[in-house]
Every structure is written in C-alpha cells, then in structure tokens.
Amino acid sequence: MSTEVRELSYSQAIQEAMAIALEADERVVLMGEDIGVYGGAFQVTGDLIERFGPERVMDTPISELGGAGVAVGAAVTGLRPIFEFQFSDFATLAMEQIVNQAAKMRYMLGGAVSVPVVMRFPAGSGTGAAAQHSQSLEAWLGHVPGLKVIQPATPHDAKGMLLAAVADPDPVMIFEHKLLYKMKGPVPEGHYTVPIGKAAIRRSGTDLTIVATSIMVHKALEAAETLAAEGIDVEVVDLRSIRPMDSATIIASVIKTHRLLCVYEGVKTLGIGAEISAMIAESEAFDRLDAPIVRLGGAETPIPYNPELEKAAVPQVPGIVAAARDLVRGVR
C-alpha cells in the first residue's frame, strides 16, 4: 500500500492521532499547559487549536494537580480528555489524582464508573534540562493497578497506541521520550490502533534477548548491528506496554535465546528492568537461562546538566554492546 511508506515524525504521528480522535468524537478534548497557540512545549499539539478551537484544545493554568483532577472528573462524566503534562516530572504534582482517583475509582465504586482518561508524559533525558526536567518515572505508574501504562517507541506505534488509548475505557498513561519526537518513521494514514499490552519483536535473533523500552529500543537495534558484525545474533524486543506487560512474548524469546539483557533509561534500581528480570526468574524460562540476567538502566543519580555527565547517566550504544558481548561470551 502506498500509504504505508509515508513518513511522519513521532510528534506528528501523535498530533495526527489526536486530530483523528477530535474529528471522530466530540467528547474528545485536549487539556494541558500551553497546548493552544503555543502548540505545546514540544510542539506536539501544534496547530490543532486552529482546527478545533480553544474549547477542544484547552490551555490550563499551571495547575497540574487540579488539571489532572478536572480531566479525571470529565472522563468519569462523559468526556474523553487527553491530558498533556508539559514534562513528566510535573506529574509528581498530580500523583494524587492519577493514583488515588483515576486508577482506583472504578474499583472503589465496584464497577459503577469507568475513567477513560488519557495522559501523556514527555519523559527522559538528553535535552540538557537537568534533574527536574529529565526523569523517567514510568516505573511508578507501572506499579499501580487500575492504570494502563505504555511507552511507544516508533511513530507508527505512537499513533496507533494513542488511538487505542482514546478508545480504552480505562486510564491510559503514555510515556513519550522527548528525543523521539523528531524521529521519523512510516505511519499509515487514517484510523488504526496498536493494541495495548503487546510487545513487538523488532529484530529476531538467537543468541541473546534484549528487552528495551522507548528510545532504548533504537539504541538496542543499533547495538545489535554492531554485535551482528561480531557474529552475535541479538533478538530485540520492544516492550511497548508496561502494564499490562506481555510476559508471553518475552518468555518465549528467552526460551529461544537463553540470555536476557534489559535496557531502560529510568533509574536501574526498581526500574522496568527489575520487573522484566524478576518475571523471567520466576517463569518457565528460568531453567533455560545460560547466564545471569543483566540490567542496564539509568545511573543511581539525578540527571546532571553537563552534557557529558548527562550521557553517562543513561545507557548508550557502546555500553549495550559491551554488556551483550559479555553476556554471550560468558564474561562476568
């Protein structure tokens, strides 16, 4: 199909998904700080306000807790808000509404309501914005039953998963790595969905499984090319969905390769890789492991401002190559 080859950036893909949702359903509204005429801090909403007006593309005051709460209340009563945090770090102000209200309301009320809210969290480091604008807090929300938590890694998935999120009756949290916004990739036109809860095998291989999230998928694929040249055949799994997690795909891959490396940007301790590792260590894949499970995660530090330190604080391609090589060659 000719439409398959069209390329969009990750942010354009999200914008297109939002436009489709706004067009299709008058209940959909966008909310967030400076998403109107400014177009969003990362220009993801762009000019949508011109097409849909300020009643559908709502600038909120700088009130993350209240704004998230308004989105939750609106979702419970009939709207389908897509709420943008300007940076995921500011969600620290709104955890109450996300975790105590959105995630639990259906349960606490015995099924009497659903909370179809979508929240978008621009996340991650690499922009030189230092410790309070660079965090990767997806593990927190992944720990919370009642939420669905996703991390699309490609423009294709960003669009399809956002459209799946809008259609989902439950609260869906989308972590978008800021460095992906400009990345281009093929994006089909029109409406389509990519299911929440399914991982994707981005490269198949036999020697080692790398499960990576978000931007780390691309770094892992780059590392896999280097490793291929050394004769190491890596399978790269794009996790895509943290809650629910597609254990079956990961287990099957590890049963095939006998080795697992988890690569993620969030702080290593208690990050996504901890869960993947633990899930495998209690699964039927455990007996098939030929090597320890290794995690490459963010450093145990806040994200520093200095660009060299900043790079050193999260996994990079050479580190992935080295860790994979050691794992396959049996170096401890």
Partner: protein
Amino acid sequence: MTAPATAPAATDSTNLPFLYRHYPREELLGALRRMHLIRRFEEAAEESYMRGLIHGTMHLSIGQEASAVGICLPLTREDQITSTHRGHGHCIAKGADVSRMFAEFFGKTTGYCGGRGGSMHIADVSTGNLGANGIVGGGIPIAVGAALTAKRLRTGKVAVSFFGDGANNEGAFHEALNMASVWKLPVVFVCENNGYGMSTSTERSTAVPNIADRAAAYAMPGVIVDGNDLSAVAQASHEAVERARRGEGPSLIECKTYRHRGHSKSDRNRYRTKDEIDDWMANRDPIARYEAQLSEFGIAGAAEIEAVRLAVRAEIDAGIEFAKASPAPATADLADYVYTEQQ
C-alpha cells in the same frame, strides 16, 4: 421539642423564610425525612460498628444534616456531586437507598460499591453521587471536571462539590476554584465548616476567619450561611445552582455547622470542650430547629413528625436486614472492577 397542638396557618407566605415559600409541603416533609434518615442511618451505622458488623473507620456527620439536605434540595437527580470522607449525609440527601449503603458498610456484593469501597467511598452514581473520597480535597477538581463535561456537552447539569474547612488549605481547592472561575463552569463549591479539620481548628489552620473570604481570590460569589438552618442553606444553594445553570459560573457557599461526634472512631476529643459540644447539640441541632419551624409555620405537627421518625426507623431496620442477608464477595472475585471489561 413540642409542636403546637394545632399548626397555625401560614397566613402571609411572603414573610416566611425562603424554604417555605419555595417548596410545597410534601417536599418539606421529604427534606425532614432525609434529615432523619441521615441521622438515624449514622446512629445505626455507629451501633453496627460497635457490634463489630462494620470494620475500618467511619466519619459521622451527625449535626450537619441541614447542610447536606439543604444543598441538594435544588438539585435534580441528574446533577452531580462529589463528596467527602464524611459523606453519608450527602449520599442520602442526593437520593441513595440506605439498604445498599448498609450493604456496602457490611462489605456485601449488594452494596453500592460491591463491598470494595466501604464508608469512605460510598457512592450512588445513579442518583448523581460520584462518591465520597478518602483524600481531603480530592473530589474538588473532579467536580470541576463534571462541570466541564456539562458545559461542553451542554447537558444542563450542575456539579456540586462538598468539602470541609480543613480541605480549603489543600492546593487542590485553590487550583480547582481558579479553573472553575476562569472557565465559568456550572459548579457550586460547598464548604461545610464544622470548625475543625480533625483536631485543628480553622483558626489554627486557616489564615482567614471564614472560608468564604477566599471566594474573592477566585472572583466568585462567596456566601456564609448558618449551616444548621435548612432554609438558609437551601436558599444559598438555590441561588448558586441557578447562577450555575444560567451559565454565570461557580459560587462558594460556606455552611457553618458542627459535628456532634468525634472526627472518626479514634478521636479522644482533646481539642474541644464538652461545653462547646453540648451547646451545639442542645441549642443548634439542625433537625430540632427544622422541626420547630415546621410546627411554627403550620406545616407539620408533632404527630406528623413522629410518623416521619417511625417510617425512617423502619426503613433503617429493613436496610440493616437487607445488608445482613446479602452475600459477601468471593475472594476469587478480588480483581473484579480493576479494569473495565473490554469487548
């Protein structure tokens, strides 16, 4: 309280307080019934708690019934409220069935929350109650969201958010009231000021003497009413709800009231005097005051009031029986309701 043997005719209705001018007799008696239902419901819940039928904790609104009932009087069933940890009264005032409330408190499947929520999450979405809330101030932005839906989808609904004096120092209060005002949303903020947030008096916690003094910071009307005077509450609510329905934006109503009981089941009552409590109970009980007015204005005499009391008592007893007889959820169903079943 004794009513005159024959109720005097309300000759000049223009001199009567708002409530009596505005509502027909059966609605006035309905309000009385709901006030008694709240009082008796909470007394019965307290007894059940003492007898071990209910676990956890609960926050009783005994003494605050006029606020819950008065605020809800001008609301339709479609209008929506968000409530608080002290939310039994709001739930009943909005029209919930006490049987299903007891069932919830007893942790049964027939409860409003299927036994998952209990007192602190009591809700009846079918009568517009989006739920009590365990988080002080948590319901305020949610009500603003409900008002946003009403405005965007042009449903004509009004949202009401109940909260306490303590809640007014939460950031959520500030952010929510500001947004409601900037967006001119159809929402009414109702602060039930019972003088204390748990043990902390408003004087020790709040920089201004009245919560309504803060309305000006959000460019909305702020009115203070005697929260134990049903008519005064109903009038303030009527005006705020009409304003909201006309599209003129939010209002803040402060109902000055008092809780007779401790904050929750673990209160040693060290922060207020027995005299203060006794005074409110003896001289400002909202039900006694309302009954006196009903008599005075010739709407209901002692016999009719007694009939309401008896009917309420029967309704409560039946509710408890229903709750007792209902099944508890199976532990196998623990994970029900975490997510919405998808097609």
